[in-house]
């Protein structure tokens, strides 16, 4: 009797410990949906629209990956994360990838053990102040009260910037962008600082955007991109090359409108390889051969995503700037598909 109980427990313990973890791709395919971490809400980048559908520039990356892997851009569970919760969510496996204005830094890549799969927005940290304060440069901010989101590179850059310019400030730590907006508009802080793109997006939602100025100083480099857990290189490749496909598609003139037509075959071998009419790039990643067609049809190429969500004709009104194709003097440069 005693023995059998003992053996039984041992067996249960052994079984429980023996469950090996499957690869992320298999997990996503078995689940039939991608768990993608996004912001808690930053209009233009990731926010639920009037119908409760998530929409935005970062959301576009999630949808493209879901389309490439599962053939369905709507097969995504969006998981809102804050600056503080995002890394735990990714490391613990709650999400398969994170697309949330996250800066690629050495320590996140190496020490926190994540894998950045590219850059979808080259950004830098800026400052926004109410126009009535009459401040025209960040150098005039000595003694100001500053709203910052905790757990970000923003708070580290801010500390460095004020220390190196021998200025003092009072940080007001904040969890989410929505909270920051409310505190800033109530005047609980004089300045709101975050990535310049985030400032533009936040300002666009104000009742009177012209009452606020974004100061000319950009105090850091913030390459924002999607990331995955370190270790599952196959999954990292899928996210990386999906993003590259969106960027290369713009360079090669593939849009959501003509992708179906081009997929039938063209006289450009790179387009043929990417869209699957030649070779088997999809198969090498464990995906179907029309993976890139699906990714591009999901929301269009990089340029289309940019123009529709944050471009100059949207309320956010960001210029392409550094985020233009390398052929137009920007930094976007996808490695070749071959």
């Amino acid at each position: 009797m005693k023995k059998s109980v003992l053996l039984g427990t041992l067996a249960v313990a052994g079984l429980a410990a023996g469950v090996a973890s499957a690869s992320t791709l298999e997990e996503v395919q078995a689940r039939g949906a991608l768990n993608c971490g996004v912001t808690t809400g930053l209009v233009g980048f990731a926010a639920p629209d009037a119908n409760g559908e998530w929409d935005g520039f970062d959301v576009g990356v999630c949808r493209a990956v879901a389309a490439a892997v599962l053939g369905d851009p709507s097969a995504v569970n969006f998981v809102p994360t804050t600056g503080q919760t995002r890394f735990t969510a990714l490391a613990s496996g709650e999400i398969d990838m994170l697309a949330r204005n996250t800066t690629w830094t050495f320590s996140r890549d190496v020490d926190l053990r994540f894998e950045f799969t590219g850059v979808n927005y080259y950004d830098g940290q800026g400052f926004m102040v109410p126009r009535e304060l009459g401040v025209s440069s960040a150098m005039e901010l000595d003694g100001a009260t500053v709203c910052i989101q905790t757990g970000t590179t923003t708070e580290l850059n801010l500390a460095d910037f004020f220390a190196s310019n021998n200025m003092s400030y009072e940080p007001v730590p904040i969890e989410t962008n929505a909270e920051a907006q409310q505190q800033y508009l109530a005047g609980a802080c004089d300045v709101y600082t975050t990535d310049a793109s985030g400032l533009a997006a936040t300002r666009a939602t104000f009742e009177d955007p012209t009452a606020h100025v974004i100061l000319p100083e950009i105090i850091s480099k913030e390459p924002l991109g999607p990331l995955v857990r370190h270790g599952d290189n196959e999954w990292g490749d899928i996210v990386r090359w999906t993003l590259n496909a969106l960027i290369a598609a713009e360079e090669l003139g593939i849009t959501s409108a003509n992708v179906a037509e081009l997929a039938a075959g063209t006289n450009n071998p790179e387009i043929n390889r990417m869209l699957g009419s030649e070779g088997d790039l999809g198969g090498m990643m464990g995906l179907s051969s029309d993976w890139a067609v699906n990714a591009i049809s999901a929301g269009g190429n990089y340029g289309e995503l940019f123009e529709r969500n944050i471009g100059e004709n949207t309320p956010i009104g960001l210029a392409r700037g550094l985020n233009a194709q390398w052929t137009d003097g920007g930094l976007l440069y996808s490695p070749p598909f071959r």
Partner: protein, 487 residues
Amino acid sequence: MTIQVVALLLIALAFYWLGHNIVSNLRQLGKDFDFGFLWSRSGYDINQRLIEYSNNSTHGRAALVGILNTMLVAALGCALATILGVIAGVLRLSKNWIVARLMTVYVEGFRNIPLLLWIILIFAIMTEATPQPRDFRGDNPDASMILFDSVAVTNRGIFIPSPVWGDGAGLLLIVFALSLAAIWAFRRYAHKRQEATGDILPVFPVSLGLFLVPTLLVYFAFSAAISRDQYPLMGVGGQQGATLEQFVEENRNPSICAIPDTAVVNLSTELRAIGQRADIVSVSSAAQMQESLQSGDCVLAVMPPDVAATMAGSLDGVDLVTLGQTIDRGRPLQFERPQLAGFNFEGGIQLRNSLIALWFALSLYTGAFIAEIVRAGILAVSRGQTEAAFALGLQPSRTMNLVILPQALRVIIPPLISQYLNLTKNSSLAIAVGYMDVRSTLGGITINQTGRELEGMLLLGLFYLVLSLLISGVMNIYNTSVKLKER
């Protein structure tokens, strides 16, 4: 017996499995288990710090700043909750119908609505319903300071005057300590005498007199002696005999060397009045002051006249001038008032909205529970006791103090301990209002920047465990002291 052995084995196995799982999962992630991050540079700033801290300090020190902030709000909360709880608990038993009902409304209102809502509600009221610092500006401002221009209520917190110790503060403290000792001795004597002869001495007025009179006398004597003293100002560069206003035209927001005392506080007050922020470099001796002036660490210095006399002309390489203006030496104890400077109020103490919201919400919420405990404690003392005391001719206040409370306390203290523990642990809801407690520093930003979730959370758990054990340890000692003594 067999069942116990099996259960023990099962538990041991479960723990082994958990530990093994953690280790293997960490290995799979390629992470190790290491507390070294506590000694590396934190890189982030904290607004409320009770000890010296900057972004160059370590993560360990950031954790310490958070720990002190947690203990601060817990201590403030426990104190206020006890006061509110005792008042509400006693008043709920009041014979006055309205008072009793009002207390019922308070208790039920706070007991039955989640704490988090109260925290956020109080915070929202504090930020939305109060003026911004810039509303205080101008000739005809929208908002103004209260209590003789000494307190500013803003949406960034409440700014109150802060005490500054000047020359003679030490003597003041000694006199005050002696007065306290005298009060204690007098009370003992009064007690003995009452036991021996039955005479009741006027304990309260005498105590109050002892508490205030000697200290105030010394304060006024000292102030009269020194407050007219003037300290000279010496500046690097500028014109001999210039006014402060002329000097700062060349040196905006000057850095000031001073041995910390009231004179430098008076100087920064004058600077703020002309729209300048002073950056104070504390030195401990005349020689150090000389060094800092020479190295350019500061451009302005305030010092006693005898030090100034040795300083003038003795610095090589630096053009040191004596300004035409002098600064009050100050009184033994002064209060520095908050003043609007630049973006914000400066000087004095800032009680941030996050602290106030958390403190009030925790106190009001826990106070409601304590009120019930106090009420239960009082009701537990049988009516016969009160009636017997009244029959002996004791006044109601003495009946309460001498008969009811000593017995009620025995019932009240044990559940009170758990309320204190609850309040302390609930203070981790600070995250809702951005109060930088230990959960936000060690358990928030540090974990996030270093990726050491497991280590951070373990330390955090350990801290709350130790703090809780400490609180219950101290309270248990108190409990033993009020316990029924069996002889």
